[in-house]
């Protein structure tokens, strides 16, 4: 029941926020903040051991019995980690929008909360129809956020974002239906229940096609090369809060889908596909790191680095052993914080000087020392400095992946070098060097306010915690991962024996 409550709070909170605009234009943000904070507090009740399968909370009710569809929500350690990330970044996003969104604020916070509600649904739905339902529900408010509050080229970016995710989503819907139909053929009844579908045999060429339907959808969301081209556009045009949600949370739904659904539901096909997926991951890491250099738009640059970092997640997932998966999850959490922070810095800069063009920037250090310090911290975090969360994630992912596919892992490891190069390069371009004030109006170039410092500090604490004491996170996801790994173990053994 708690899971339904969490989602319902955000849905209702969104409606309340919308109507509260009539009272005062500043009411919506307050309502939104209260709703998300309430959610985060409620989530602490989910921090427990859970039952034998690792599930800490479940809820089930009939929905469409004709098709065997039910309202089935359940959360294990993996879900809880991502739920908390969602709520935490939700608060940060509200903070980012606090001063930036002044027009039609009620509708903005409505969309923000509904996106978050959709994401919570995605992380907890264990009925595949319900999962798809939430998968799509989070799209429309996000589309509206980009289309209404975005920047100069928002129409194009919003449309591209929507069409990419929606069309691949439809392929996933067909895959879900085929899977349910498999269940009908094999077990004599229709079901969209995750646990029922795990028992469906999906070996064979048909299984491969169906798996690709899922993979395509998740790889587009993740995003992985060659389905990534919507992301730089969406990020550069979205308002800061939109970028925070997009980079911090929405990309993680793709990774979550791969871990929760693609591999366990199609173990044979996934094992066969793993080398290709890992190759795509390595290409994403290297190619997007390279492309990031070529950018002059600071938000596009960060967007490409996001794609690059998410490559480590794909790499870890398709290595499919405990270390690699732990690494993938840690990377998801750490990247959620670091990317969100970097987008907020970029958004903050844009808000102050009305440009994202790095060729016009330079030498900001003396003018904005606090901002520079924050930027250095998060850049260093993103490049994988030991002691911060990103290092733990990428390191574990590489160790795990090394056991599965040496070539791809070695190639991917070069991404770490490229990451340090582009991170430091951005710092140099923007904050160091000669101060040039000819090209823009710098009268609003002020240092970080106290409010901004608070939420950057929150994210720093999170990253340091992850880097210094990762065990507290690893312990949470471990039961869930053990469960997932045992469910596919038989297949892995069979595949290995076949290979020998």
């Amino acid at each position: 029941m708690i899971l339904v409550t969490l989602i319902a709070i955000l849905f209702v909170g969104g409606l309340v926020a919308w109507f509260s605009e009539r009272i005062s234009p500043t009411m919506p943000r307050l309502v939104a903040l209260i709703a998300v904070t309430l959610d985060l507090l409620l989530m602490f009740s989910l921090l427990g051991a859970g039952d034998a399968g690792g599930w800490v909370a479940t809820f089930e009710a009939d929905w469409i019995p004709r098709f065997g569809i039910s309202f089935y929500f359940a959360a294990d350690g993996l879900s809880v980690l991502l739920l908390m990330l969602t709520a935490f970044l939700g608060i940060i996003a509200i903070g980012a929008a606090w001063g930036e969104i002044t027009e039609r604020s009620g509708f903005f916070y409505f969309n923000l909360l509904w996106t978050l509600a959709g994401v919570l649904g995605v992380f907890t739905a264990l009925d595949l129809f319900l999962f798809f339902f939430f998968w799509e529900v989070m799209l429309i408010p996000m589309y509206l956020i980009i289309a209404i509050w975005g920047h100069e080229n928002k129409h194009y970016a919003a449309m591209k974002f929507f069409i990419f995710t929606q069309v691949t989503g439809m392929l996933m819907l067909i895959s879900i239906l085929v899977l349910a139909y498999f269940h009908y053929v094999q077990k004599g009844s229709l079901s969209f229940n995750y646990h029922d579908l795990l028992n469906v045999s999906t070996a064979g060429s048909m299984g491969m096609w169906v798996m690709l339907g899922f993979f395509l959808s998740f790889a587009t969301k993740l995003p992985s090369v060659p389905f990534h081209s919507w992301l730089p556009d969406a990020h550069s045009q979205a308002p800061t809060a939109g970028s925070v949600i997009l980079a911090g949370i929405l990309l993680k739904t793709g990774a979550y889908g791969l871990i929760r659904f693609t591999v366990p539901l199609f173990p044979e096909a996934s094992m066969a596909f793993a080398p290709y997926a890992m190759a795509l991951a390595a290409i994403s890491i290297l190619y997007c790191a390279k492309v990031a250099f070529a950018q002059t738009d600071i938000k596009r640059l960060i967007a490409y680095t996001s794609v690059s970092h998410m490559g480590f997640v794909t790499l870890g997932i398709y290595a499919w052993n405990e270390q690699a998966l732990q690494g993938a999850i840690m990377t998801m959490l750490a990247h959620g914080l670091s990317a969100a922070a970097l987008f907020m810095l970029a958004g903050g800069l844009q808000h102050r000087i009305h440009t994202r063009d790095m060729s016009e920037m330079g030498g900001f250090w003396p003018k904005v020392p606090r901002m520079t310090a924050v930027a250095i911290f998060f850049s260093v975090a993103a490049l994988g400095m030991p002691g911060l969360g990103n290092f733990i994630g990428e390191f574990l992912a590489l160790i795990g992946a090394f056991q599965a596919n040496i070539t791809m892992t070695v190639l991917a490891a070069f991404g770490l070098i490229l990451a340090s190069v582009y991170s430091l390069w951005v710092l140099q371009k923007v904050f160091q060097g000669e101060y040039r004030n000819a090209d823009f109006d710098d009268s609003h170039l002020t240092d970080l306010s106290r409010r901004e410092m608070i939420y950057f500090a929150l994210m720093m604490v999170g990253l340091i915690w992850m880097g210094m004491y990762p065990q507290s996170f690893l312990n949470m996801s471990e039961p869930a991962l053990t469960q997932l790994l045992t469910s596919t173990q038989g297949v892995a053994v069979a595949v290995l024996q076949g290979a020998l």
């Binding site: 469409i64 799209l139 289309a147 129409h155 929507f162 392929l171 085929v178």
Partner: protein, 489 residues
């Protein structure tokens, strides 16, 4: 052939609609009054819909050889009468300012509905043609209704003549096909054409049957505006007054589809491989042509015309699937999608006719610029309708699409499903374009006419909006109902 009292009882909805027209006509004869005529028509349609709903549980029988009154036909009678009532309510403010006789419009609307009710209850060629022509004849009049008005900006005469000529030609082809089938089977009832070659009745061979079926298919495809018989659709949609377009796009399509469904099931025409191929080609052509041609439209009515071509193509997939699957999922999918299509089309056209009237129609997409900030309620409803047409969750359109996908998957129709995915992907672009236009900052000038925005019109689109969401989020009761009634096809 005697007609008993029990038969009359079963024909009650049809008789009520007919009676409504007669009463309305008499009332016009006594004293011309626009409001009275409208109220009589709206009340009559409402009563007929309620009567059909009451009859629905447990009625399944042939009444005269011409009409079948079963749960399926009664379901569509309810839907048809309710839709006609909604259109009548929306027409009232639209025609209020017309500088011409206005009362006869409701007579035409009523007669068209008589035709539609006959169509959904028909499993016989005679009643099919009777119903179809009754409806079409009235529609010619409705399409041209504003022709004498000096201020009407549209081209109703052009639309009406175009529709008349092409529709009559299509009816001719349809009739020819029916005659050929009659030559084969010796009956005008929809009956099986399979295995005729072996029977002793006039054996004219399979090729003959296929030609007959092709002519019938072409005739029906014209009425449903399936590609390549769709050319008339955008012009007629654009030229007609909005309420007439609404009628044409909703009830006209749905009633025809019910005939197609009953005919395909009864005649087992899909057992002929050639027909199956032709229908598949028509489906793919409609989906691609409809969606691609809709991309560049600046006029809302033309856009919706092309999108309706695509939607008819989607439903055709379920007809093809119904041949391959064991259960009734194909029929259920068609029924649900038709219901969904009626709700969202009525809603979309409803909003458009609320902001327009007979002297000025706001049918350019640019007219809707900034609607979201000027009239949020209307814009929210319009957005929901567009999203539903695009098949986005939380709306009935999504459940409909889910049904069609499911039927396609069970039938293993991968190519058709691929066409549908591509088509829907293209479709997103133009639906979103309309939504985006509404989200743009409102222009200084260009405020809509508010005379159409009466409380009753808001009530109609409000009901449709609620139906759209309720059926999108909790469709289980309707799904169960449709599962039950689909057993009668």
């Amino acid at each position: 052939m005697t007609i008993t009292a029990a038969d009359i009882y079963l024909l009650l909805p049809l008789l009520l609609v007919t009676g409504t027209v007669v009463v309305a006509m008499t009332a016009v004869g006594i004293k011309r009054d626009y409001t009275t005529t409208a109220i009589i028509t709206i009340t009559g349609l409402l009563v007929a819909a309620i009567a059909a709903a009451v009859l629905m549980s447990g009625t399944n029988q042939q009444v005269t050889p011409l009409l079948i009154i079963d749960q399926y036909s009664l379901f569509f009678t309810v839907v048809t009468c309710a839709s006609a009532m909604f259109i009548a309510i929306l027409s009232y403010p639209y025609l209020l300012a017309l500088d011409d006789s206005r009362e006869e419009y409701y007579l035409l609307l009523g007669v068209a509905t008589v035709g539609a009710v006959v169509m959904v209850s028909s499993n016989h060629f005679v009643s099919a043609i009777l119903g179809l022509e009754t409806m079409s004849m009235s529609l010619y009049g409705m399409v041209a209704y504003t022709v004498h008005s000096k201020s009407a900006a549209q081209h109703p005469l052009e639309a009406s003549v175009k529709y008349l000529v092409l529709s009559a030609a299509a009816s001719g082809i349809l009739l020819f096909g029916m005659a050929l089938v009659y030559a084969q089977t010796g009956t005008l009832a929809f009956s099986s054409l399979v295995d005729l070659a072996d029977s002793s009745r006039g054996d004219l061979g399979n090729d003959f049957t296929i030609v007959a079926l092709l002519m019938i298919t072409a005739g029906i495809a014209f009425k449903l505006s399936l590609a390549p018989f769709h050319i008339w659709t955008p012009d007629v949609y654009e030229g007609s007054p909005l309420p007439a377009t609404t009628y044409l796009a909703t009830i006209g399509k749905a009633a025809m589809f019910v005939i197609l469904l009953r005919f395909m099931e009864a005649s087992e025409a899909l057992a002929f491989e050639g027909i199956l191929t032709i229908l598949s080609l028509i489906a793919v052509a409609s989906i691609l042509a409809g969606n691609l041609l809709a991309l560049m439209q600046q006029n809302l009515k033309r856009l919706l015309a092309y999108s309706s071509i695509a939607h008819m193509g989607y439903i055709l997939i379920a007809i093809i699937a119904s041949y391959y699957v064991d259960g009734r999922i194909g029929i259920e999918a068609i029924t649900f999608y038709l219901l969904a299509y009626l709700i969202m089309s009525l809603g979309t056209f409803g909003v458009a006719s609320m902001v327009s009237d007979s002297s000025k129609e706001y049918d350019s997409i640019d007219d809707y610029k900034g609607l979201f900030w000027r009239q949020p309620v209307l814009a929210a409803i319009f957005t929901a309708m567009m999203l539903s047409l695009a098949g986005i969750p939380l709306t009935v359109g999504f459940i409909g699409k889910f049904y069609l996908f499911f039927a396609g998957v069970e039938g293993a129709l991968w190519m058709l499903l691929a066409a549908m995915v591509i088509g829907s992907g293209i479709g997103l672009y133009y639906y979103l374009r309309v939504i985006y236009r509404m989200l743009e900052p409102a222009p200084e000038s260009g405020v809509f006419n508010r005379s159409g925005q009466t409380a009753s019109a808001f009530g109609v689109v409000g009901i449709l909006f609620v139906l759209l969401l309720v059926l999108g989020v909790y469709p289980a009761p309707v799904i169960d109902l449709i599962e039950a009634i689909s057993a009668y096809i």
